[in-house]
């Protein structure tokens, strides 16, 4: 699963997710892309599940680009723990995305197959998405 190799701090403050993606909102490498329409935290497990779903559909050939990276640690308190006593432990890594962000790009496969593959991937993400194309 995707995660940073090294970080400066173990835990992060939560912050807010607002606004729209001002970067990473256009197709840069492939021909077909999956665009997010919502703010969300997408975990490395979800990204991995989506990647597997795309690869299963495409089978062979084609090239996939993952345009997001989970670089934000999500903490969680253990079950049946009283409040207080400090912040919980890091549980997983998530990517914080904004509406308009391209999540995946595909190239080298039929358009119909690419749409189906990206649609399958979108089911794993829990975010409203749409498929977009690079048109000449």
């Amino acid at each position: 699963m995707l995660m940073p190799k090294r970080t400066k701090f173990r835990k992060c403050q939560r912050g807010r997710m607002k606004g729209i993606a001002d970067r990473g909102s256009t197709i840069a490498f492939g021909e077909v892309g999956l665009k997010s329409l919502e703010c969300a935290k997408i975990s490395s497990r979800q990204i991995e599940a989506a990647r597997v779903a795309i690869n299963r559909k495409v089978k062979r050939g084609g090239k996939l680009w993952i345009r997001i990276f989970p670089d934000y640690p999500e903490t969680k308190k253990p079950a049946e723990t009283r409040m207080g006593k400090g912040k919980g432990n890091p549980e997983e890594w998530v990517a914080r995305i904004k509406p308009g962000r391209i999540l995946f790009e595909l190239a080298g496969v039929d358009r119909e197959l690419a749409i189906q593959a990206l649609r399958n991937a979108s089911f794993k993400l829990g975010v409203k998405t749409k498929v977009i194309f690079f048109d000449n």
Partner: protein, 218 residues
């Protein structure tokens, strides 16, 4: 050019709120400029989308007819830059560049790839590295698109910018060594390690917490 005409009107509304109102009324705010002089215009969104059916291109020169303007009708222009809403994909603003017949223009032209490479039938994948190239030429020589035939490409072959047939009138401005398109075999993707890696397994460099954690271990 082929008789492409875009009708525009002089714009007296400026600023964010006025532009939002303009867009709601079915217009796109436009700025037309050349040689340090600029004017604010607006075009009907419907007209603009009729002109550029599929996608906005920098290599299409059209006649810009500005109403409410005396004596300066029939100027040529092309889209220098445009802003798009990242979510909806709607066009928010246009930069038009005024063109004169005898002055060279510097712009981007789309590349269209024709055919299916032989290497793809043998198991390769066509990878497109550049979809546009930067050129300089006179407005009358500007092509709408540059066609590249990729049918002869085998696995490992590539086409560079210098190999494009542009003609004598068009000067290439992109890096001549840049790869436009190539056919290659995709390596098997690395399968991620099967073990469950928690968020704790990441190395922490510097920062206050690392020193704290080392103290607590003691």
């Amino acid at each position: 050019m082929e008789g492409k005409i875009l009708n525009a009107e002089v714009r007296n509304e400026f600023g964010k709120n006025d532009c939002i109102r303009l867009r709601k009324a079915g217009y796109i705010p436009v700025v037309l400029y050349s040689h340090g002089q600029s004017e604010s215009l607006k075009v009907k969104k419907k007209d603009f989308l009729n002109l550029f059916e599929k996608s906005v291109s920098e290599s299409v020169i059209f006649d810009l007819k500005v109403s409410e303007q005396s004596g300066n009708s029939g100027q040529m222009a092309f889209v220098k830059e445009y802003q798009v809403d990242p979510v909806s994909g709607e066009i928010l603003h246009l930069d038009l560049f005024k063109v004169t017949q005898d002055e060279k223009i510097h712009t981007h032209v789309h590349i269209e790839f024709i055919g299916s490479p032989k290497g793809v039938k043998l198991g390769g994948v066509l990878e497109i590295n550049e979809r546009m190239i930067e050129v300089e030429c006179l407005p009358r020589d500007l092509p709408n698109k540059i066609e590249v035939d990729v049918t002869e490409l085998m696995i490992g072959d590539s086409i560079h910018a210098r190999e494009l047939k542009l003609g004598d009138t068009i000067q290439l401005y992109s890096n001549p060594e840049s790869v436009i398109v190539s056919v290659h075999v995709i390596k098997a993707a690395k399968t991620p390690t099967a073990g469950e890696e928690g968020a704790e397994s990441v190395e922490i460099v510097g920062g206050k917490e690392s020193s704290e954690s080392s103290e607590s271990e003691k």
